[in-house]
C-alpha cells in the first residue's frame, strides 16, 4: 500500500483500496455492537458528498446514523445579500461571484430576477470567477465599480485577507465578506438537537480543509466542554470510514478527544500564516445563517481600517439581516442544514425543487445536501421513495 506521493496514488490508497475499506467496515460493525444508537454529524458538504456518492451509509450498521450539519456556505447565505447583489448588478456595479452562488434563488425577486444568473441574462453585470484573485485582476484591468460576493467558510478568508494586506485590491473593488465560521455553527447545531429532545449528537466528523487553516485545536471545545469525540477527517471514502471507526472507539472507551485522521494535510495548530492574516483583517461577530437564524460569533467582517474596501460600508448594507423567514414556503432547507430533517423529508424535494430548477439553497451548490441526494441518491438506505 505504501507508495510514491502523487495524485494517482492518493486515489489508489484512500479511495480504491477495497481491502482496507472492507476491514474498516468489519471493525465498525464489530464495535457498533458495544454502543446503542449513535449519531455522528459532519460539518462539510464534501463529507456528505463522499458519504452519499460512495454509499457509505449502506456499509454501516443500523445503529450508526451519519447526519449532515451546516457545511455548505452557499446554502446558509441569507437571501438578503443575494438580493442586494442583484440590485447592484442592475445599478451598474460589476458583481463577481463564485459559480455555485450564481444560481442561488432569493426569497424576494429583484426586478423580476430570482438569481444572479437571471440578472445577468437581463443585462445585469455579473461575472463568474474561480477565485478572489481573478476578481482582483479583472477589476484592476477593467477599472469598473465592482463588488465581490465573499461567500465561504474559513478556507476562503485567508485569500481575502492576504490580498488586502498586500495592497493588491484596487479601490474600485469592494469585498462583501460573507465568511462564516464552522466551530460556532457546530456548537449551535449540537445544542439544537439536544434542546429539542432529539437523539443527541454522539460525535463530530470535523471538516478537513477548514481544519487545515484553523487547526485541529479549534475543535477542542467539543470534547472538553461537550464531551464529544471529534475526528478531523479527509474527504476520500477510506478517510470517512476511518473517522467513523475512530469516533466509535472513543464512544466505547468513553474518552472523548480530538483526533486527526487527515494527518497528511491537517496539523494541530493549522496554517499559522493564514490565521495571522485573518486576525489582522477581520473581526468576528454574530451572523445570520439562512433558514437557521443568528449564530453568535459566527461571521467575519472587515475591520474598520479596511472600510474603504468594505461593501457593507460602501453600500450601507445590514451586517445581520432580519432573521425571519428566509426560505420559500414549504422549503425545509433550514431543518436539513441543521441536520434534523433529510432532503427527502422536504415536500419540494425532487418535485418542484431539483438541481436543474432549485427552489431552496441546499439544492444549488454541489455541497448542498439536497443537491447531493438528488444527484447521487442519498435516500434509498432509509427506504425513502424520494
Amino acid at each position: 500500500m505504501l507508495g510514491e506521493l502523487n495524485q494517482t496514488n492518493i486515489v489508489r490508497d484512500f479511495r480504491e483500496n477495497s481491502e482496507i475499506a472492507r476491514l474498516l467496515c468489519q471493525k465498525i460493525n464489530s464495535l457498533a455492537s458495544e454502543v446503542g444508537p449513535v449519531k455522528f454529524m459532519n460539518f462539510c458538504g464534501t463529507h456528505e458528498w463522499t458519504t452519499v456518492y460512495f454509499g457509505l451509509r449502506h456499509l454501516l450498521p443500523p445503529n450508526i446514523e451519519l447526519v449532515a450539519g451546516p457545511g455548505c456556505p452557499v446554502c446558509v447565505t441569507p437571501s438578503y445579500f443575494i438580493e442586494q447583489a442583484i440590485r447592484l448588478a442592475f445599478e451598474g456595479f460589476v458583481v463577481y461571484t463564485y459559480g455555485d452562488s450564481y444560481r442561488l434563488p432569493v426569497l424576494n425577486p429583484v426586478d423580476g430576477c430570482r438569481t444572479l444568473e437571471e440578472a445577468r441574462s437581463r443585462g445585469g453585470k455579473v461575472k463568474l470567477v474561480y477565485s478572489f484573485l481573478e476578481a482582483v485582476e479583472d477589476a484592476r484591468r477593467e477599472k469598473e465599480k465592482a463588488v465581490f460576493l465573499g461567500i465561504g467558510f474559513e478556507t476562503l478568508a485567508p485569500i481575502y485577507s492576504s490580498l488586502l494586506l498586500a495592497g493588491k485590491v484596487p479601490e474600485n473593488l469592494k469585498l462583501l465578506s460573507l465568511v462564516k465560521l464552522t466551530p460556532p455553527a457546530a456548537r449551535f447545531a449540537i445544542k439544537y438537537h439536544k434542546d429539542r429532545g432529539l437523539l443527541p449528537i454522539s460525535g463530530v466528523i470535523a471538516p478537513g480543509h477548514v481544519s487545515t487553516v484553523i487547526g485541529a485545536s479549534s475543535w477542542e471545545f467539543l470534547p472538553q466542554e461537550l464531551g464529544l469525540p471529534t475526528v478531523v477527517a479527509g474527504f476520500e471514502p477510506i478517510d470517512v470510514l476511518a473517522a467513523v471507526f475512530l469516533l466509535l472507539k472513543m464512544c466505547v472507551e468513553k474518552r472523548p478527544r480530538v483526533e486527526i485522521e487527515y494527518k497528511r494535510v491537517v496539523s494541530w495548530e493549522g496554517n499559522i500564516t493564514a490565521k495571522k492574516t485573518i486576525a489582522a483583517t477581520f473581526r468576528m461577530s454574530e451572523s445570520a445563517w439562512r433558514g437557521i437564524g443568528i449564530i453568535p460569533e459566527s461571521g467575519l467582517f472587515l475591520k474598520e481600517e479596511f472600510s474603504d474596501f468594505d461593501a457593507f460600508t460602501t453600500f450601507n448594507l445590514e451586517h445581520v439581516p432580519e432573521a425571519g423567514e428566509d426560505l420559500a414556503p414549504g422549503c425545509k432547507c433550514g431543518e436539513i442544514m441543521i441536520g434534523v430533517s433529510r432532503p427527502t423529508d422536504c415536500p419540494l424535494f425532487g418535485k418542484r425543487c431539483t438541481p436543474n430548477s432549485p427552489v431552496g439553497p441546499c439544492m444549488v451548490s454541489v455541497e448542498g445536501p439536497c443537491n447531493i441526494w438528488a444527484r447521487f441518491g442519498g435516500s434509498d438506505v432509509f427506504g425513502d421513495s424520494g
Binding site: M1, L2, E4, L5, N6, Q7, I10, D13, I20, L23, L24, K27, Y98, Y130, S131, F132, L133, E134, G152, T155, L156, P158, I159, S162, L163, H209, T212, V213, G234, I238, A242, F245, L246, E261, Y262, K263, R264, V265, V266, N271, T273, A274, T277
Partner: protein, 53 residues
C-alpha cells in the same frame, strides 16, 4: 503567487507559505491552504492500516 497544475489544467493561486516546484498542494478557490509532505502521507496510510488490525 504560484502556478498549480490540476491534472493538466494550470491556474495561478495565492500561496502564503513557500512552495517548491513539484510539491503537492491543497488549493481552495485560488488559495494554497496546505501541502502534502511524503512523510505525512505515509504516516497517514500506516495509521489507517494499524486501525484495521
Amino acid at each position: 503567487m504560484v502556478l498549480v497544475d490540476f491534472g493538466g489544467i494550470e491556474k495561478r493561486a495565492v500561496s502564503l507559505d513557500e512552495v517548491k516546484e513539484g510539491e503537492l498542494v491543497i488549493v481552495h478557490a485560488g488559495l494554497v491552504i496546505g501541502k502534502i509532505r511524503e512523510e505525512d502521507y505515509l504516516r497517514n496510510i500506516e495509521e489507517i492500516q494499524l486501525l484495521t488490525r
